[in-house]
């Protein structure tokens, strides 16, 4: 099964189960969880079921295309089910079957792994799902988001698409993945991107510009919060978060400063969540 077929199968599977199938968010983010369809929709009482593939950018994970499983740009497949349905584990397991993983041939296990995002003021309990000892999915019941209790709790499934695909296709390097099921490889599409972006992330990105961008995003976020516009405010918080990650990759943030930058991003994200709650008239 090609990489894109896996995404298509998952789209079809979760669409059949009532999910809204969204396209990726059009901004750089470190994880699918940052998508407004996860973060903001996890707040408030309204039911919400959505699935989407999200490109994730983690500048410090870049390896110039030389490491077979580490990339600074890769895909997560994210499913959000709110409130978490009682059969969520079975729904998830059936989705694995749908993409060709036979649970009588492979050893699938739910291993304790609690999730916490200091940047989002969020935490949840759950597992990493193992397939023959490999983590293929992060499974979380959100308990808090932006510092607010989730009422009701959403279940979040985050599939590591490249890992799953490598597993299904039996290849040892991400760049050898068959992308379209017809011979076009992942490497043909992304190897050059990895090389250039790694170089930019680690060596070239102008740090003065980045510091400036960080401050501008932060102040624009505050501007939006004053105007009581939580969604644009949140976008600026995501932007600040990504710029911070770039600064980290450039190695210009000392250990001591790191905590204070993270605290700033957290305040922006939490402020946006708070404004989102207020805008919708939801009590904490």
């Amino acid at each position: 099964m090609g990489f894109q077929q896996i995404i298509l199968k998952l789209h079809e599977y979760w669409s059949d189960r009532g999910c809204v199938i969204l396209q990726p968010y059009d901004m750089e983010m470190g994880a699918g969880t940052f998508h407004t369809a996860t973060t903001l929709r996890a707040l408030g009482p309204d039911p919400w079921n959505a699935a989407f593939a999200q490109p994730c950018r983690r500048p410090t994970d870049g390896r110039y295309g030389e490491n077979p499983n580490r990339l600074q740009h890769y895909y997560q497949y994210q499913v959000v089910l709110k409130p978490s349905p009682p059969d969520i584990q079975q729904l998830y397991l059936d989705s694995l079957t749908a993409i060709g993983i036979d649970p009588m041939l492979h050893d699938i296990r739910f291993v304790e792994d609690d999730w916490e995002s200091p940047t989002l003021g969020a935490w949840g309990l759950g597992w990493e799902v193992w397939c023959d000892g490999m983590e293929v999915t992060q499974f979380t019941y959100f308990q808090q988001m932006g510092g607010f209790d989730c009422k009701p709790v959403a279940g979040e499934l985050t599939y590591g698409l490249e890992r799953l695909a490598m597993y299904i296709q039996g290849v040892d390097s991400v760049y050898d993945l068959d992308f379209n099921g017809n011979g076009v490889t992942y490497g043909e599409i992304f190897l050059d991107n990895e090389k250039q972006m790694s170089e930019w992330n680690f060596e070239v990105a102008d740090t003065e510009t980045l510091f400036d961008l960080f401050n501008k995003a932060a102040s624009e976020c505050e501007n939006c919060l004053e105007a009581k516009l939580p969604i644009p405010a949140y976008e600026q918080a995501i932007k600040a978060s990504h710029v911070f990650n770039l600064l980290q990759a450039r190695g210009v943030i000392s250990v001591q400063e790191r905590a204070s930058y993270m605290g700033r991003v957290r305040d922006l994200a939490k402020g946006s969540c708070e404004a989102y709650m207020a805008k919708n008239g939801w009590a904490a």
């Binding site: 041939l105 699938i108 296990r109 609690d114 000892g133 019941y141 989730c150 009422k151 009701p152 040892d172």
Partner: protein
Amino acid sequence: MTDFLLELLSEEIPARMQAKARADLERLFVAQMEEAGLNAGEITVYSTPRRLALIAKNLPQQTEAVSEESKGPPDGAPDQAVDGFCRKNGVTRDQLEVRDVKGRPTYFAVINRPGRDTKDVLAAAIPAIIRAFPWPKSMRWGDASLSTESLRWVRPLSGIVALFGEDLVECEIDGLTSGTETVGHRFHHQGSITIGSAADYADKLRAAHVLVDHEERQDIVRAGAAKAAAEGGLELVEDEGLVIENAGLTEWPVPLLGGFDPAFLDVPEEVIQLTARVNQKYFICRDKSGKLAPNFVCTANIEATDGGQAIVAGNEKVLAARLSDAKFFWELDQKTPLEDHAKKLGNIVFHEKLGTVADKVERVAKLAEWLVSLEGNGFDQSSPGDALHREVTEAARLCKADLVTEMVGEFPDLQGLMGGYYAEKQGKSEAVANAIRDHYKPVGQGDEVPTDPVTVAVSLADKLDTLVGFFVIKERPTGSKDPFALRRAALGIIELVLANSLRLDLDYVTAKASNLILRTIEKMSGSQSDSWISEHLGEELFRAVPDFFVDRLKVQQKGAGVRHDIIDAIVSSGQRDDIVLILARVKALQAFVETEDGTNLLAGYKRASNILKKESAPGADPESRAEGAADALGSASSAEHVALSYTPEPAEQALIDALDAAQPQVGTAIGKEAFTDAMSALAALRAPIDRFFDDVTVNDEDQEKRAARLALLARFRDAVHQVADFSKIEG
């Protein structure tokens, strides 16, 4: 008598929480039964990743009927009092009985509580147990989580089976009702299973590929892993923690043997073991010669249709990826000399008030050099330029360098060990590499205590710097809180000192360490710390640090049978800054006070001490005891020479003679650290003091005699105090 079964079905419970969960389930159940007046009987608890189960055997059908009596006010008491009594007991006035109590007619309420059906008791107990369950972390889920008041469990609770005999115990909690159905293995069994009673529970589950008894699963993992290794001609490295964890991750454990590329064996064994164990929960194996084999045993949760081939292949791939990361780190780290790694320690904050790790390393190096350059402290005294001095400096400066290596970043437990390996690879001397590797030792009681002088010096300096540093900034342990593990540091120092017979003056060492720390503080604040010193240091620190050591020494020596009161007696006599000396004196004293001479001498001492206190003799005021002792010593020494105005009684003279002989002997013996000799000299006072009390009246009418005899007793007491403060000794 009837058996009860309770199963709480849940989504996967973390393996590490299962043992406590079983104990909690039993404890909460017993408490509920006791409260209802039921004997909980014989209880068995089980756990799997998906369920907690309890079987209680031989419960009665009903609780026993109870009749309770409650005594009320006397007949004729005001109505208000009587009505209040009725309300409290839930009876009406005409139900009260009047009985005679010591001649007074008094109201009694008799409350008969009929027996309750055990089934009803259980129905009430189950929700109470679930609500009270103390999970380390719990969560909300599903529709009910619209309210934050909804039920919390470790992961979603999905079912309750509750059977009393063959009857369903009906109960409900947060919309979840009890039933007779449960589920089998997640993949080996479809649909639900109906449980008939406690008797068929385990068997029904077994038929559905669930071994509910965790001990049975542990046995299978233990024996199965060993067997899988043996079939490959290998020996399993036993690991009971992994046995329990794997049993907690599976309902139907199937150990399988896998392998990895022998090229990875270049990586240190500890790294391979840690990668396999921590990240993947695999056992490792050795070949017949005892060498680490390129194999592992993983524990699957299914009997796969292909016999486990795909599972093994998948796990091999995962481990290979992890080992190739480890190998990459191992090789990458070696490209940078430890000296260069060490430079990056300036970016890591040790503690905001104590500077960076680089600052700490600098202090440790200076302190370690100083320790080995002191005279007579037990190290082969060294001076700058000689081998010991050079190696101590080098090891100290490199001892924390591995903290910034990739490998230790990935596996913090490997700190020290990796530094040792990298030092070796870099061609450092064995002594330096050993010191880097072992300078964290001893970690807690029972750990190996270093004896190589370079390691000892660095280890001591590191721990002293930590201990004194946090004492200086007043971050000291309180009660159960010891966030910087200072108790462990002190214990480590004590063990190093004792194992190597190091003669350290704790005052002196504290002063040196605190000076180095103050220099860091000055550097950070950019100002002189004179005022800071007077505010934070001085006397208090030099009391607090040795006191802390004495305290730890008591704990450390308890296991060896050393009495804390004996330690107090020695410390109180002024011996407080040399641990080796303290302990030598303590041991001699303890041996002595446990002899007949010792016991009697102690009795004589207490008697003398009591008389002196009563007579307001010098030193009677406990506030000025030390001063009083000095006075007494003065008068005692004069008593040697001042001729008595009367002829002393024979027993009195005998005591004077004995003291004349013993005092210098005790003094000399202590000076030579010959503590057993000091005790023997003291023992010679036992017979004379006994005789003195038998034959001589201290409280003589003749004031001169009285004063002289009191002075003699004071002199006796002071002679004893040369050895120890006997007043601290119990018994």
